[in-house]
Symmetry: C4
Subunit: 387 residues, 4 copies
C-alpha cells in the first residue's frame, strides 16, 4: 500500500516539475527571479540586527557582493574600491586592461559609440591580444592596495595564462565562461582538466557558469570553492535569441543549492559557495537570488551604474565581444551614484538601483532571519500571471 502511495507520490512530484511539450519530448518548468517574491510571515526584526557577511575559503567579506569580471564594471581601481567597501571585485584578465597599456581612451570610445555600431567596433578592439605582462601589472596594482585579489580567465585561455596569474599572485582564481562543464571534449587539443587543475592549484577556484544540478555537482567534484550560476551574465535575452539557451535563475540557483547539499554529504562536509551570476537588474532580484539559495551574488549592471564605473554608464560583457557570434549588447545602464551609495544608500528613487545592502537588510528583517545562510530558507511565492 505504501508502495502505491510512494509511486503516486513520485509521479505527482515529477508532474510539478516536468511537462510534456509534445509527445515524447518533456521539459521542466523553470522560473525566473521575476516570477518569485518573498513573503514575510510571523516574525520581524530590526534591519540593524542582521548580518550580511560572507566567506569563501579564508576570505571574509562584509557583503555578499562580487563585482563581475567585465570591463564596464571592474577595473583595477574599482576592484580596490569594492574591496574597501567590504565586497570583492574580480578583474577580467582577458579584458581591455590586459590587452592595452592604457585602455581609458578605448573605454571612452566604446561609451560613445552609436548603438548600432557598438558591437562591430567592440569586436575590433578586443581582437588585440592579451599581454601576460599586463596581467601581472594589473594584479600587482590591486594587491598593493591591500584588498583581496581576484582575477578571471575563460576556460579557453586558462592553460595559456594561469601560470602568469599565479606568479603575479591572486587570492581567488575565477574561471568563467558562458557554459563551463567539468567534462569538455575536444578533437584537436587536450582540454583543460578542471579537476587536476584545481587540485594542483594552491588558490581557491570559483568556476562557472553552470545552471543545473548535474552540471554544478560535477563542477563541485573538481574541488572548486565556488560555482557561478547562470549563463550569459546580463545577456540572457540575447543568448536565448541567438543560440536558444536559457536557464531561468530562480530555478537554476535552487538546483545548484541542492547540488551543494548533496555534494556536502558525499564529500563529508565540503561546503561549496553558490554564486548567482548575472541578470540581477535591481536590488529586489539581488535579494531574491539569496533567498533562492545563493551565498553571494556577482553583480554586473548594478555596479556599472556607479560614478566610478569604467564603462561610463555603458555595460557589456564577454558575450558581446565574440568575434563571429556575439550574444550580448553594449547596453546603456546610466549612472546613478557612487559605488558606496549603490551598496549602502541612501536612495532617493524607488527603482531598486541604489542601496542593495539596505534592501537586503530590510528583506531579512521583514522575514526575521539573522544571516544570509538562514535567509535562504525564507518563504517565497510564485506569481504566475505577472505583476
Amino acid at each position: 500500500m505504501s508502495r502505491i502511495l510512494s509511486r503516486v507520490g513520485i509521479s505527482l512530484e515529477a508532474m510539478s516539475q516536468e511537462i510534456e511539450i509534445g509527445l515524447g519530448k518533456k521539459g521542466r518548468l523553470a522560473y525566473s527571479l521575476d516570477d518569485v517574491a518573498i513573503v514575510p510571515s510571523r516574525r520581524t526584526r530590526d534591519p540593524e540586527d542582521v548580518s550580511t557577511s560572507w566567506q569563501v575559503d579564508a576570505y571574509e567579506f562584509d557583503v555578499p557582493v562580487i563585482g563581475a569580471p567585465m570591463d564596464s564594471v571592474t577595473s583595477p581601481a574599482t576592484a580596490i574600491a569594492m574591496g574597501r567597501l567590504g565586497a570583492l571585485g574580480v578583474l577580467d584578465l582577458e579584458g581591455l586592461w590586459t590587452r592595452y597599456e592604457d585602455p581609458e581612451p578605448l573605454l571612452a570610445e566604446i561609451a560613445d559609440l552609436p548603438a548600432d555600431q557598438a558591437t562591430e567596433r567592440i569586436q575590433q578592439i578586443y581582437a588585440e591580444p592579451v599581454k601576460p605582462e599586463l596581467i601581472t601589472e594589473r594584479l600587482h596594482e590591486i594587491r598593493d592596495a591591500g584588498v583581496t585579489v581576484a582575477g578571471a580567465l575563460s576556460p579557453q585561455r586558462t592553460q595559456q595564462f594561469y601560470s602568469t596569474v599565479l606568479e603575479a599572485g591572486v587570492d581567488l582564481f575565477v574561471i568563467r565562461g558562458t557554459v563551463v562543464s567539468a567534462e569538455h571534449v575536444s578533437q584537436d587539443h587536450e582540454p583543460l582538466n578542471l579537476k587536476k587543475f584545481i587540485y594542483d592549484l594552491d588558490v581557491p577556484v570559483i568556476v562557472g557558469g553552470a545552471a543545473n544540478y548535474t552540471a554544478a555537482l560535477h563542477l563541485m567534484r573538481t574541488g572548486a570553492a565556488g560555482v557561478l550560476v547562470g549563463f550569459g551574465g546580463g545577456a540572457v535575452a540575447a543568448t536565448r535569441k541567438t543560440i536558444g539557451v536559457h536557464a531561468p535563475m530562480a530555478t537554476a540557483i535552487a538546483d545548484v543549492a541542492e547540488a551543494r547539499r548533496d555534494y556536502m554529504d558525499e564529500s563529508g562536509g565540503r561546503y561549496v559557495q553558490v554564486i548567482a551570476d548575472g541578470g540581477m537588474g535591481d536590488s529586489g532580484s539581488f535579494v531574491k537570488a539569496l533567498a533562492m539559495g545563493a551565498d553571494a551574488v556577482m553583480l554586473g549592471a548594478p555596479l556599472a551604474r556607479a560614478t566610478e564605473a569604467p564603462g561610463h554608464g555603458k555595460h557589456w560583457g564577454a558575450e558581446a565581444r565574440h568575434q563571429t557570434l556575439p550574444r550580448g549588447y553594449r547596453t546603456d545602464v546610466g549612472t546613478v551614484g557612487a559605488l558606496k551609495q549603490i551598496l549602502f544608500g541612501p536612495s532617493h528613487q524607488a527603482d531598486g538601483q541604489v542601496n542593495y545592502i539596505g534592501a537586503l537588510r530590510r528583506a531579512m528583517a521583514s522575514t526575521g532571519y539573522v544571516d544570509v545562510k538562514n535567509f535562504q530558507r525564507c518563504n517565497v511565492v510564485v506569481t504566475p500571471y505577472g505583476r
Copy 2:
C-alpha cells in the same frame, strides 16, 4: 483504503498550492486581484436591495471604505468628509499634519515637484519631527465634527506617541507598517509587545500589514479588532523591485480570511475584521477584494483622485518617504470628481474610477447576495492568460 485516498487527496491539494521552483525550493502559487474575476450564476437581485454596511467594534459605517492614512488622501478635512459620507478616514499621525503647523504649502509644493526630484524633496520634508501637540490638535478637529475618529501610527513610533493619541481621544487606533508581525525582535530596544499593548488599551486596534495565514493569525491573537492585509499599499511594484517582497492580494486576502475563521473557532467566537489595504486601483478590484473575503477595504489612490484630496491629484505613502530606502513613488493619479461622486456616482467614464459603491451594489446584485458578508462566498474564476 480511505487512508490511501486521503493521502492522495492531501498530495493533490498540496500540488495545487505549491510548486517546486527548483530542487529543494518550493513556492506557493499566489494570485493578484487582476488574475480573478467574479462570475454571476443563477440568481440576480435589484441593486437597491443590497446592504453595503460594515461594522468594526461598536462603530457602524454605511460603506466598507476606509480612507488610507496617507497625506495625499486623508487630512482632517477629508477624514470628516469621509465620515459624513458613511466611510471612515484614518489620519496618518506621522504625516505632514503632525509635523507642520500649516502643511498646505508643502502639499502644494510636493504636488508641483518634477517626478525625478520628488522622492528626495519628500525625504527632506518628512525629516521634520512629529509634534505631539499637533497630534492632539488634529484629532480634536476631527472629533469636533462628530464623525468617528481614527489615527494611525507606525509600529516604530507607537510607544513614543500612543499616550498622546489616547489622551487626545480616538475611536479606532491603527498600527500600520509595511510588514507588521506579532513577534518583533530587537537587540537594542524593547520592541512593542502588541499583545500587551492591545490588551491594556481601551480602544479597538486595527493592525497590519500582514499577508498570510500565519502572520495574520498571530496578529489576531494579540486581540486586534481588525487586520490590514497587504504590504506596501499602492507601492506594490516598487516594494517588489527594491526588496523582493510581494504578496499578491487575492491570495493574501483569502488566506487571512481563513485565519479569521480558524481564530473565531479557537477564540470562541471573536470575529476579526479583514481589511484589504492597497493596490485597489479601480472599482473592479475593490469589489473583488470583498469577494475574496475582505470585510472592508482601505483605499488610497481612488480617494486621492477626489477634488477635495489634499494631494492635489498626486499620491504617495509612507514607503515613499523612507530616508534611506524609499519603496514607493509620488504618482500622478489625477482628479476625477468629488469624494461623494467617487463613492456614489454618477460616473461618466467606464474606467472604474467613479461610483465604487454603485459598482459594489451591481456586482452584489448580479450574484444575488444581500450583504457584504454573504458576497464573500461568491463564485470566482481565475483567468490565467490575461484580459
Copy 3:
C-alpha cells in the same frame, strides 16, 4: 479498487478545473477565445462543400450570424440588409430608433463626439423615454421588407413593452441584459417571471447573457429557444474594471453547451440554441466560438465596421449608456467594407475583419467537418503563454 480509481479520477478531474486562490477560496480556471486555437488533423475538405446554415425554431438562416441589438450595428435598414444576406439582425427596442422619430442626426453627433466626452453625452441622449409607437413603426418597417423580424428588450423593460412588441409582430423575441437570471429577486416590484412569460408567449424567445452551466440550465428550463452566452458584449474589459465581473468566453461557451446537452436529456429532446454574444473582434474568434460549442454568434463590432452601419465607424452598447455606472465605451472600430463583403469577402487584409463566412468555411474545410454542428467537436489546443 475501482472505487479508488474513480475517486482519484474525480480528484484529478477537479484539479484541472479548480485551483486554490488562497486558503478557503477556490476559483475555476477560465479561458478566453484568445487562449485557444483550432488544430486540423488528418482529414481536409473543399471549403465549397461545407454548410454554414443555422436554424432557430422555424427560422432558417444561411449563416450563423446575428447582428447585435446595438444602435451602432442594427438599424431597421441594416436589419433588413442582414436578413437579405442570410443572417439575422436584432433591433434594440430601447435604442435610439424607439426613443427618437429621427435618430440619424444623433447617430452622427455621437460619432463625432470627442472620446472623453462621449459617455456623458450618450447618457443624456439615452435619457429620452422609449416611445411604444416607434417600437411598432420600426418593427413594421422590417416586417415589410420580408425578412425575419427580431427585437430586443432588457429584462427591466420587458413587462412594460412586450405587449407593444407582440402586437407589432416579431418572429423572434430577444431579452438581453448584462446578466440575466431565471430567478431575479426584488423587494419593491414583482420581477419578470421568465418561465411564465415565455410559456405564455407565442413567439420563440432568446435570452441572456448567462455564462456558466447553472445559470444557462435555469434559463433553458424557462423554455427559451436560445441562450445568449457572455456578459457585457464587447465591453468585457470595462465590465471587469468597473464591477469585477468577467466570464472568459471559451469556457463560458463550452459550459453552456454542456448545459444544452444535459437539458436536452432532461427535457426529452429539446435543443436550445447556444449563441455566443460579444467579444468576437475578428473572424478567428468568430470561428473559435463555434468550435467551442456555439450554434450561432451575435456580432457587434465586426458588423459596426460596415459601410452601412448606423454607427458611422463608432461602436457602443447598452452598457455605455447606463445613467450612473457606465460599463462600456464608445469605441472607434472604423469602416472596412460593405456588410456583404464583411460576411462573404473578398478580403484584402489579413486582419480577420473581412470575410467571416469564408474564414468559417476554410476552418471547417481544414478540419474536415461538413456542418457547424459537427464542427463543434473539432480539436483545439490551449496555448498558455501567448502568441
Copy 4:
C-alpha cells in the same frame, strides 16, 4: 496493484496534456518555441567538432537549412546560391517566376508598395496564370548550376502541373499547403490521392504542413520522404486571427517526431524527415526547432533578409496572395547581410539574425552533442512566465 498504478499513471500523463476548457470541451496545452529553452548540462565540446550535415533520400547537405518556396526568399538565383552554400532552395512553382517571364519589376513593385495597399496589389499580381513552360525554364536554370533541384506545388495544383515538373526534372518534389492531409474530400472533383501519387513518382516527395501526430502519421504512410511541420509559415499570427487555426511549433515538432518514431516501427525502418516550416524568426528558434526533434528547418524570413533575396527586404508567402481570404502580410524584414553571412557569420549584432549555423554549432557544443540527430535529445526547460 500495478494496474492501479498504470491507470493512475495514465491519468496523470493525460493531465499534463489536456485541460478542461469548459465542461465537455477539452484542449491540449501546446507550446511555442518561445516558451522553451535549451539547458546545457555536464558535458561540453568544441563548436568545430560538431557535424551539421543532413540527408534526405540520396541527397546530402552540409547544413539542415531549406529555403522556403516563397517569392521573397527563393528565386532560381538564390536556389543556386543556397545549393552552393550546402543548403537546399525550393522554388515555388506557382510563384512569380512561373507566372511571369520577367518577374523582377513586379518584385520591385511589391517591395515598394505602401503597407496598407500591399495585399490587394499582390492579389492582382498573382491572378496571372501559371505557365507550364516557365516551370520548365526555371527548373532547368537551377539544374544547369549543378545543385540539387527542388520545386513546390500546392496540393490544389499538383495534378495540373506535376507532369510538367517531372519532365523538367526535379530531385525533390515538395507539396506544400497551409493544411495538407492524407485524406482530402471533395464533392466536385477527384482529389489528389497522395499515396498513389507518391507511390507512382520516381522522385522523393516532401509534403505538409501538418502539425500533429495523427495528421503527420497519415502523411508518412503515403510514402513521403519528409513532412513539413507547421501551418501558415511565417503568417502564424494572421492565420490565427483570420481562421482561428494555430499549432504552436514546439509541441507540433515534438508530436510529429513521435509519429516518425512510431512510423519507423510500423514500416520496418523507414525514416521520414521532419522539417520544421516557418515561424523561425531568429537563430535561437532555429536551434530550438532542431532540439524539439526536427531534422531540418525550412527558413523564410531569415533568408528573406539576405542581400541577394528577391524580396528586397520584404517578405510574403502564399497565404498573403489568396484571392478572397488572405492570411498573411507582406512584412518588412529588412536586409542584414549576404546569404553566406546569414548562414555562417560573422555576426556583428546579438539579435539572432546572422550566423545561424554558428549558433547551431555553439548550442550543440554547449550541450555536448556531435550531430543534429543526437542533439534532438537535448534537455529543455519550459519557461512559463516570459523571458
